[in-house]
Every structure is written in C-alpha cells, then in structure tokens.
C-alpha cells in the first residue's frame, strides 16, 4: 500500500518489533512508518485496547501525515 502511495502505518507490539525490522528491511522499506504498541494487546480486553488506542492515536495520525509518508 505504501509503495502505491496510500498512506500506511504498521502497528507492531514491542515483542514483535525485531520481526518488523527484519520484514521492513527485507522488502526494501526500512523506514516505513511504524508505531509501537505494548505487548500483548490481543486478548487483553476491550477496555485495555481502547486505552492503548488512545495512547497511540496521536502517533498514528502523525505517521499518516504527508510529512511522514
């Protein structure tokens, strides 16, 4: 998507950040916008996910802004 000019950001939890690094390098996009989430997110309940979302929404919007893409 990012290659096709669609603003994109990857949400990656702390535990999988190294895999994200590897994949980003592998596809030749080491600087693709990514936002780090605490780990785990899955299975932590709607309330916690809402809290996580609130804590990163600013970063996500910034990453999707023209200056970051």
């Amino acid at each position: 998507m990012a290659r096709q000019g669609v603003p994109a950001v990857a949400l990656v939890t702390t535990a999988f950040w190294p895999q994200g690094d590897f994949v980003a390098r592998s596809v030749g996009m080491p600087d693709i916008p990514r936002v780090e989430l605490p780990h785990p997110v899955a299975g932590t309940g709607t309330a916690n996910m809402q809290q996580v979302a609130n804590s990163v929404v600013g970063e996500v919007i910034a990453a999707l802004s023209p200056a970051s893409q």
């Binding site: 895999q19 590897f22 994949v23």
Partner: protein, 389 residues
C-alpha cells in the same frame, strides 16, 4: 577443506564461498551457529563437488541459476543451485532433487501465502506430500511409519525445505518466523502418498495441478504421473479406530478430531483439512462403496460444532458469508466446502489415521515434478558422490 558454497546468498540468489579450517561436522555446525543459520542439527558440508552431484539429480537441462521461486519474507530467489546447497546440508540424495525443486516451486505460489506462513505466531509447517512415480524414484516412504523417522528421502527432503525457508526465505526464529512455540513438524515434514494401497488412486488426480507458469492445468488433461503437494498446517493429529467395520464409525472419530476450537478452522472457514487415512481405514470405506468425495462429504456433514459456541470463542471471524447465517443453536461445519477436505492414503498395517489441520490463511498447492531424463524406471537413480568427494 575445499571451498564450499555458502548459504548466505544475496537476495539475487548468488551463493558466496567461504573456507573453513576443516570439514568436520563440528566445525561446520559451529560456523552455522555463529551466523544464526541451520536448524540446530549437524549438517553435511556443501562442497562444490557435492553441490554439483546434487544438481546432477535434476538430470541436466535448465540453468542452475534460473529462479524457481521468490520466497518471502526476504524475497529470496531460490535457484536450483541454492536448493542443491541446502539439500546437501540436509543430507539429501541427488535423486530427491526433482521433488525438492517442485516443493520449492509450490512454496512460491501466491495462493500458498508463504509470507503469512513464515511470519505467523502459529506452529504451522509446510507438509510436502509426494505423489506417484517421483516417490518411487526418490526413495520416499508412504508406508509404515511414513510420518516418522527411518527413511532418508522423507527425513532429509523435509529438512531441506526447512533449511531453504531459513536460509533463502529468511524464516529464522527471531526475525522471519514469529512462532510462539514452534513445533516438531518445522524440523522436517515430508511423506509419500501410499498410492499402491489407495482405493481411490492419487490425491493429485483430484486437485488442481499448477503448472510451472502458475496457471491451473487443463482440468480434462491427463493426471500427472509425478506431483508434489504442499499443505501448510499443524503436525498430524492421531485418529485411532481399532474396532469399526463400517465407514461412518471410523469417520465419526475423524470428524471428532477435526471439530476442535483449538485449531484455526473455527475462525477461518476457507481452511483445508488434509486427512491421511491409513490403508485399512481407507479399505473399509472403499469396500462399502464410498468414494473419496463421499468421505469428504460425510466429514463435512459430521465435523461440526454448535455455531453459537464457535461465535463465542472467536470475536474475529473470516467466514464465508453463508456461514454467518447459521443460527447459534445449529451446527456449523468446520470448513466452508467439502472440497476443502483432502483425503489421501498414508501408512502401513494397523488402524491409525490422522488429521492435519491448516494454518488457515493459506491454500495447498500441487505442482508436477519435472521428469528426470536420467531416471528411467529401470535405471538406478542418481547417487551421492563417491566417498571423500
């Protein structure tokens, strides 16, 4: 030791050459461990003469540097030469090369979704099923103990697939493979179909066979004599029925094994089951007049859970639209279509079959095995290089 090609190839598929102090397995293993390569087990040093002998298993023709498949996540270009290097490392015999190359071709098919297979936290591993004459020529075992140890072709072809995933695709733990627990099938997962004892012929005759150009073959064309299927799933789940004389009783136990909330079949309805019937269970079904598609249809009917139970277990569901209409108090099939239940015959005497659930977001791929001009049925298959090579 002699110079040997290295598996730390670039993405362009060019093997490098390294020199080690000697060719003892300990030296090679120490070097590989330091680089984060290998599967943890000792390997055979891929010297130039061994790699050349392995490539000879393809019978000549074609460039050893022609790209067979592009393997994610690192977009590694798998060539016959790189495949041969990893085949030597794994301990393969040259006669296995046609099957291994076909397996790699299947891994690169978009339908298989190798990027997802390699990246997931699930313990999925590619199961390589060898059909037809290729199994005999390569020395593969589809009989007693076929999923287990004791046969070089099964053990080392499966291992070579894993080494190719690690070294070419970049699917090493910690970088390209995020599997939470891993699994024994990730070491080696290769079996032959027991066509001699299959009452329904080869599974390869009942599925789409993908040509080298990745296009479906002519559905009315002749079935391939040799083929390889790759199905990305879990390790086999045993089904024991020592007592039943009718198909339904056996298949009810198979269906019970399929109907589990622990696999990805609950949330992902497109997922395929591979059901490996032992020859005796298959014979019970066939003797009662059941065809392969009858068995699949019956399992589709029987492998079900209450829809409400599955909905409650999975908030996120990738279901075919029609499954969403099944009321909570009715039974929900564990896959969206009977054709997603692939029946094949494996094993020897006894009454144990197995179910191989899918990872889910993947489809199996069957490709023909290229004929090997050097391996006519009445001639000996290519062999290892002489000792000391």
């Amino acid at each position: 030791m002699k110079q040997k090609p290295d598996t730390t190839h670039s993405q362009a598929g060019e093997p490098a050459t390294i020199e080690l102090a000697d060719d003892r397995p300990e030296t090679l293993l120490r070097h590989f461990e330091a680089q984060g390569w290998g599967d943890g087990l000792p390997m055979v040093a891929p010297t130039e003469d061994r790699v050349a002998a392995m490539l000879a298993g393809l019978g000549g023709g074609g460039s050893p540097d022609e790209v067979v498949a592009t393997l994610p996540p690192r977009s590694g270009l798998a060539t016959p030469r790189l495949i041969a290097i990893n085949a030597v490392l794994a301990g393969c015999a040259p006669a296995q090369m046609p099957v291994l190359v076909a397996a790699v071709e299947a891994l690169g098919h978009p339908r298989l979704n190798l990027r997802g297979v390699n990246a997931t936290t699930h313990p999925v591993a590619p199961l390589v099923i060898v059909h037809g004459e290729a199994a005999r020529l390569g020395g593969f075992n589809g009989g007693a103990g076929a999923f287990g140890p004791g046969n070089r072709a099964n053990a080392t072809t499966g291992r070579a697939v894993r080494l190719i995933l690690n070294h070419v695709a970049g699917a090493a733990i910690g970088s390209g493979d995020a599997s939470t627990q891993g699994g024994p099938a990730k070491y080696s997962y290769c079996v032959a179909e027991n066509i001699e004892e299959s009452p329904w012929g080869s599974l390869a005759t009942s599925v789409d066979v993908v040509s080298r150009a990745h296009e479906p073959s002519d559905a009315d064309g002749p079935a391939p004599v040799s083929a390889v299927t790759v199905h990305c799933g879990e390790a086999p789940h045993n089904v024991h029925d020592m007592e039943s004389a009718d198909p339904a009783a056996i298949l009810n136990k198979v269906a019970s094994t399929m109907a589990s909330l622990g696999s990805n079949h609950g949330p992902i309805s497109q997922a395929e089951f591979f059901v490996a019937l032992c020859p005796e269970h298959a014979a019970t079904c066939a003797d009662a007049g059941w065809s392969r598609s009858d068995v699949a249809a019956y399992l589709f009917q029987r492998a079900r859970l209450p829809a409400g139970e599955v909905r409650a277990a999975f908030a996120l569901r990738a279901w075919a639209p029609w499954l969403n209409a099944v009321p909570d108090n009715e039974l929900l099939p564990m896959t969206e279509h009977p054709d997603n239940i692939r029946i094949f015959v494996v094993g020897g005497p006894g009454k144990h079959s197995s179910v191989i659930p899918s990872w889910g977001m993947t489809r199996s791929v069957t490709v023909p095995v290229a004929s090997n001009p050097g391996s006519k049925p009445d001639t000996a298959p290519p062999t290892d290089p002489p000792q000391g090579a």
